[in-house]
Amino acid sequence: MDGVTNQRKSEEKLGGKDLINIGIYAAIYCVIMTSISMLGFIPIMMPMLAVLCPLIGGITMMLFYTKVKKFGMITIITVIIGAFLWITGMGYWPFIFGIVCGSVADLVAKSGNYLSKKKTVLSHGIMNITIFGCFLPLYLDINGYFATRTSFGSEYVKALSDIFKPWTAPIILLCSFIFGIFGALLGMSFLKKHFEKAGIV
């Protein structure tokens, strides 16, 4: 009897393999995100990052979701991604968003036992609200944000200030959520088309 409870306990706890998986997928995701973010230097592309990152990142994440069986994995990966965004110069907001969105996304996925497709898609959408954290400093204090970025040139600053009017904030937020959902669907179709055949799911 004791052995059975012990086994159940170790099933709920995160094991070494789960943690290594988190590290691997976080590394892949961060590399993909960095290469996409390079596009942000064209002003029109800046808000598009809220569309592209969830969409393309969805492929990686759906593969990661197939490995998730325990509570905590999604939280940890979101926090790590938030910390990575912090280190790469997006300010501390993504980190705070990462903690909140990560745990909510994890709870949503857990409510479907990490098997339900609908819950997975929804959870990926919530997780991607983290990306909105990168844009938050632009809305809170746009003049302060650009006071230290004068080297980018007045034209770039003007173009960005024109794009990031306060009313666009909820749109970007919604965008990151909706395209998170689309990204999840795209990722799932990729899973079906490629990864299941290759036997890595």
Partner: protein
């Protein structure tokens, strides 16, 4: 996941504690790249930007440091020049894109590179343990630490291969870029990751018992000096917020 046998890492000159390096990385990204703290810290930013190059020199990475310094100066001079003559249009964005990104991100990239090159995974683990961070975060982080160079390498190789087939930005089949790059990239990385995790598990990662570490890390004189330098902008930031 241990690479202490790597000769490049054994011969590395001045020793800094990994915790100091992490503090440096966070400070530089927050103040030099993120531009936090406003005007008063701005004076300090050039000093912070030079730190990674200094560290690279102390770590006997002369070539990397020299290339970095030349790139940084060239890009900032060019940017100044572009702003002065009021360049506009497409050319301006090209100049901005390539040099703005360089001058801004280079110190951070160099710092990250210094951190990666001069720290072994074991040292990194020992430092994180001393910071009392949970194992649940340390293991993924150390895997990332070890895995980053591999992922970049794979991405580059697949980029080359696909370019040969005309699947790149501006190539013949640019529309297929996502599928044709992502799928082999992910497949490669996941397979390498599986092997990595098998290797780490055989060495007892994620076991029930507490893991020990033989790396000797600790603060020395140069660490105290560096920490003091890092604390200045943070104190200025706090003063700014409080006031």
């Amino acid at each position: 996941m241990d690479d202490s046998n790597n000769p490049a890492k054994n011969n590395r000159g001045l020793y800094l504690d990994p915790r100091t390096k992490i503090l440096f990385l966070i400070t530089i990204t927050t103040f030099a790249l993120g531009g936090a703290g406003g005007r008063r810290v701005e004076m300090l930013a050039p000093v912070l930007c030079m730190v990674p190059f200094l560290l690279l020199i102390t770590a006997k990475r002369f070539k990397t440091a020299l290339v970095g310094i030349i790139l940084l100066f060239a890009s900032s001079i060019l940017l100044e020049f572009a702003n002065k003559i009021n360049m506009s249009g497409l050319l301006y964005y090209l100049v901005l894109g390539s040099f703005g990104i360089l001058s801004r991100f280079l110190p951070c990239i160099m710092m990250g590179r210094y951190l990666m090159e001069s720290t072994t995974v074991s040292e990194f683990n020992a430092a994180m343990k001393k910071l009392h961070i949970s194992d649940k975060v340390i293991i993924p982080l150390s895997v990332m630490f070890r895995f980053f160079p591999t992922v970049m390498d794979e991405a580059e190789s697949i980029g080359w291969a696909m370019k040969m087939r005309g699947i790149s930005l501006g190539g013949k089949h640019a529309s297929k870029i996502i599928e044709y790059r992502m799928v082999p990239f992910m497949t490669c990385c996941v397979n390498i990751g599986e092997e990595l995790s098998a290797a780490a598990l055989t060495r007892g990662l994620g076991g029930e018992v507490k893991r020990t570490n033989i790396c000797k890390i600790g603060f020395r004189l140069q660490d105290y000096f560096s920490v003091a330098l890092c604390l200045i902008p943070w104190i200025l930031l706090i003063m700014d917020v409080v006031k």
